[in-house]
C-alpha cells in the first residue's frame, strides 16, 4: 500500500515538473533538449558506472534488467558459436576435470609406486641417493640409469570384477597388487563413463597411464585385462607381447573366465606366460665425456696430496709393523699384539723367555730402529726346542762327564755318574721346562757305584730290590672289551716286565728272599658275573703265557681272575691285568 501511494505521489510530482519545464523554457524547449542530447553521451558517460552502482545499491533493480539480457545473449552465443565457447571454457573445465581425476588417481599411483619401488633391490639405496642428488624421482632415475625400459610387473585382471587373477613381478611379489587391480578397473570404468566418445559403439578406454615415473599399459580382452607397469621408454614389442599373452589366456581359460566366481586358483599356471612379458633392455654402458669443473679438480688435488702424505706415514708404519712381526719366529718370543699408534708409532706387547735373545739384540740383529717402537715386554718360559737346548746346555755345564746326543730335538744323555749326582741331575731334569720325558733322557746314564758296592751293602741291595719291584708292580696291561687277547703294546710291556722281573729274581736271590709274581686279571661289568670271572682269568693266563715264553720260570707265576673290578672313583670297569710281586724270607 505504501509503495503504491508513493508511486502515485511520484507521478503527480512528475506531471508538475513537466508543467514547470514548459512554463520556463517555452519555445526554446526544443533547442535546450537538443543541446542536452548532444552532450548526453558525455554527461552519462561520466557518471554511468557510478549511477549503475548507486541504483543497484538502492533497490537492486539493475540486476533485474541486466541478467535476462546477459542470459539471452549467452544462450545465443552458445547455440550459434558453440565451438568458440568450448574453446573458451575448455582450459577451465579441463583443469577442473583433471583435478578431480588426479585426486582419484593419486592414491592409486601411490600404491603402484610402492609396488615398483618395493620390487627393487638394495642397490636401490645408492640410486635413491643419486636420484635425490639429481633432483629427479627415484623410479625415473632407475629407469634412466639401468634400462632403456623394464617391465616391472604384469597383472592379469578379471575384467568384470576387477579381481586380480594372477600377477608376476621382477623381484619379489607385491602384496597390494590385488588392490591396485581393483582400482585400475574402477579408473577404467570411470574413464569410459566420463569421457564418452561421440560414437556410441566406440567407447573410450585407458590404453596407457603415464606418470613421471612409469607407464601402465592396458590391453583389454573380452573377459580379462592385462596390465604392464613399465619404466623407461616402452617399445612396441611390449604391446605385442601383451596382446599375445592376453589372447593365449582367453583361448586356454575361456570357460574359467566366463564362469569366474572369485576363485583364482585355476589361473596359477599362467605364471610362465605372464613372466614372458617381463621384458627389459639394459642400457648399454656409455662412456660419458664429462667435463669436470676446475674446483672439483682442486679438491681432488688437495685430497690427493693429503693422502700421499698420509700414505707415506702409513706405509712406513706398516713396514715397521711387518718387520717387528718377524720377532715371533725367534725362539723364546711370543708376540701378543702389534698395533699402530698415532701417525708413526708402533706399539708392541710381547712375551720373552729369559734364556732367549734380548729384544735390543734382536732389533740390532735385524737392523730395526727403536725410535718409533714402544715395546712392552713380559717374561715367560718357552717350551720351544731351541730354548730347551739352551737350557740343557747351561745345566750340563756342571756335568762334564756327560755328552748329549740330539735325536729329533730330543736329548739323550750318555756317560757315567755317581748315584748321588745322578739323582741330583734327574731332579734338575724333572724341573726343566719343555722336556717331555725327563727320565728317558737319562736312561743311558750308567750308575758307577752299583757294581762296586752293591754286593756288600744290604741296604742298597734292598733299595734296589724295592725299586725294581715297584717297576714290575707299576705295569698294567689294557684289554679291549670282552677280549683276552694281548695287544702289541701289551706284549712289549710284558717283554720289559720279564726283564725287570729277572732283575728282581737276581736281587732277591742275593738277599736270600723267596719270590712270587701274582698276575691278576680284571674285567668290567658288561656281561654276566660268571662270564667276567672267566674272562678275567683268561686275561691273566694270557699274560702268564707270554712271560713263560720270555723265559720266566713258571714256578714264580700265579695267574688269578679277580672277576669284575670297578673303579670306585670313576665308576668305570677295569679291563686290565695287574701285577704284584710278593717276597718273604726263605727261612
Amino acid at each position: 500500500m505504501d509503495e503504491e501511494s508513493n508511486n502515485n505521489n511520484m507521478d503527480a510530482k512528475q506531471q508538475q515538473m513537466d508543467q514547470l519545464r514548459a512554463l520556463l523554457l517555452g519555445e526554446e524547449n526544443q533547442q535546450i533538449t537538443g543541446t542536452v542530447k548532444k552532450h548526453a553521451r558525455e554527461i552519462v558517460g561520466d557518471v554511468f558506472s557510478e549511477a549503475l552502482h548507486d541504483r543497484q545499491e538502492k533497490d537492486g533493480s539493475v540486476d533485474q534488467v541486466i541478467i535476462p539480457l546477459v542470459e539471452k545473449s549467452v544462450e545465443r552465443s552458445v547455440s550459434n558459436h558453440s565451438e568458440k565457447m568450448v574453446g573458451y571454457l575448455y582450459p577451465l573445465m579441463g583443469r577442473l576435470i583433471r583435478k578431480s581425476v588426479s585426486a582419484f588417481l593419486t592414491e592409486f599411483l601411490e600404491k603402484t609406486n610402492e609396488l615398483i619401488e618395493n620390487s627393487l633391490t638394495i642397490k636401490g639405496l645408492k640410486w635413491r641417493f643419486r636420484a635425490w642428488q639429481a633432483g629427479v624421482s627415484f623410479s625415473q632415475y632407475v629407469a634412466s640409469q639401468t634400462f632403456v625400459y623394464k617391465v616391472e610387473q604384469i597383472l592379469l585382471i578379471h575384467r568384470e570384477t576387477g579381481i586380480l587373477l594372477k600377477s608376476v613381478s621382477q623381484g619379489h611379489g607385491a602384496a597390494d597388487a590385488d588392490m591396485v587391480s581393483g582400482m585400475l578397473t574402477a579408473i577404467d570404468d570411470f574413464v569410459s563413463d566420463s569421457f564418452n566418445a561421440e560414437s556410441e559403439n566406440e567407447q573410450q578406454h585407458l590404453d596407457v597411464i603415464k606418470t613421471d615415473d612409469f607407464s601402465l599399459v592396458l590391453k583389454r580382452g573380452p573377459q580379462a585385462v592385462i596390465v604392464a607397469a613399465v619404466t623407461g621408454n616402452m617399445p612396441q614389442e611390449i604391446a605385442n607381447q601383451l596382446e599375445l599373452t592376453l589372447e593365449f589366456a582367453h583361448r586356454i581359460y575361456d570357460k574359467e573366465l566366463a564362469s569366474f566366481k572369485g576363485d583364482t586358483l585355476p589361473f596359477e599356471p599362467l605364471e610362465q606366460q605372464l613372466k614372458e612379458c617381463l621384458l627389459e633392455e639394459l642400457r648399454p654402458e656409455e662412456n660419458k665425456a664429462n667435463k669436470q669443473p676446475w674446483f672439483a679438480w682442486l679438491i681432488v688435488l688437495f685430497v690427493c696430496s693429503l693422502s700421499v702424505t698420509y700414505g707415506y706415514f702409513w706405509w712406513n708404519q706398516n713396514e715397521l709393523k711387518i718387520a717387528i712381526e718377524a720377532i715371533k719366529n725367534e725362539p723364546g718370543f711370543v708376540l701378543n699384539d702389534v698395533d699402530k699408534s698415532g701417525l708413526t708409532k708402533v706399539k708392541v706387547t710381547l712375551l720373552r723367555d729369559p734364556s732367549a735373545l734380548s729384544v735390543d739384540d734382536w732389533l740390532l740383529e735385524n737392523d730395526i730402529s727403536k725410535d718409533n717402537l714402544d715395546i712392552e715386554e713380559k717374561r715367560y718360559l718357552s717350551l720351544a726346542p731351541e730354548l730347551l737346548k739352551l737350557r740343557l746346555t747351561k745345566l750340563l755345564a756342571d756335568y762334564p762327564e756327560l755328552t748329549v746326543i740330539w735325536e729329533d730335538n730330543l736329548p739323550v744323555l750318555t756317560g757315567e755318574l755317581p748315584n748321588a749326582k745322578r739323582q741330583a741331575l734327574s731332579s734338575k731334569l724333572l724341573a726343566l721346562p719343555g722336556l717331555n720325558e725327563p727320565l728317558n733322557v737319562m736312561s743311558l746314564v750308567e750308575v758307577e757305584e752299583l757294581d762296586n758296592r752293591g754286593e756288600n751293602n744290604p741296604a742298597i741291595l734292598k733299595a734296589l730290590l724295592e725299586l725294581n719291584i715297584a717297576k714290575v708292580d707299576s705295569i698294567q696291561l689294557e684289554f679291549d672289551q670282552g677280549q683276552s687277547g694281548l695287544s702289541d703294546l701289551a706284549k712289549e710291556q710284558l717283554k720289559m716286565l720279564a726283564n725287570n722281573f729277572q732283575t728282581v729274581v737276581d736281587l732277591a736271590d742275593k738277599q736270600n728272599l723267596s719270590l712270587g709274581l701274582i698276575i691278576m686279571g680284571a674285567s668290567d661289568p658288561v656281561g654276566g658275573r660268571e662270564y667276567n670271572q672267566r674272562l678275567s682269568r683268561d686275561r691273566a693266563r694270557a699274560a702268564q703265557k707270554v712271560l713263560v715264553e720270555q723265559g720266566v720260570d713258571p714256578g714264580y707265576l700265579n695267574a688269578i681272575g679277580l672277576g669284575i673290578v670297578e673303579s670306585k672313583t670313576t665308576g668305570k670297569g677295569v679291563r686290565k691285568v695287574l701285577f704284584n710281586v710278593v717276597y718273604f724270607d726263605s727261612d
Binding site: 578431480s100 585426486a103 582419484f104 592414491e107 578379471h158 575384467r159 568384470e160 570384477t161 576387477g162 579381481i163 586380480l164 590385488d178 588392490m179 587391480s181 581393483g182 582400482m183 574402477a186 579408473i187 570404468d189 570411470f190 569410459s192 563413463d193 566366481k261 572369485g262 576363485d263 583364482t264 586358483l265
Partner: protein, 163 residues
Amino acid sequence: MIQKKVCLLGATGVGKTSLVKQFVEGIFSEKYLTSIGVKVDKRIVDLASEQVQLMLWDIEGIDRYCGFQPKYLRGASAYIIVTDQTRSQSLIEGLEIHHQCREVTDVPAILAINKSDLDVAWHWSENELNGYSQEFEKCFTTSAKTGQQVNSMFEFIAELLYY
C-alpha cells in the same frame, strides 16, 4: 583362495569409508573427507574351513552432484546400502540407489543402518523400517565408531557368498 567383490553404496557422509576402515584397519576417525571415485580395499575373512578375500569397493557418495555409476557394480557379488540413522533423507536416497542397482543386478543386497552409537534422529518407525528391510537379504545396525556389528556384517556376507 576365493575372492569376492562387494560394493558399498549410499548417500554422502553416511559412513561407507568409515565402515571399510573399521573393518580393514580397525580404526575410526571423526574427520570427514568425502570420497572421490572408488577406493578398493581388501580383507581376508576366515570361515569355518575356508578363507574368502573380500575386495571392498568403497564408492563415492551418491547425491545430486554425483550420480549413480552402474559400472562400478559390474561383477560385484553383493552390495551394501549404507544409511545414517541421524538423517531421514539417507534412507530415501539409499532405497533409491537400491532400486537403481536392481535394474542392473540381482546379487544379494545388505542394508546397513549406520552410526548406531548416536541417538536415533530419523522419523522412521520400527514398522516402516521392517518393511524396507524386506527388500534386503539382511539388515544390520552398525557403528563404524564402536565397531558394533561391523565384523558380523562382513562375515555374514563372506559366508553368504562362499556357500
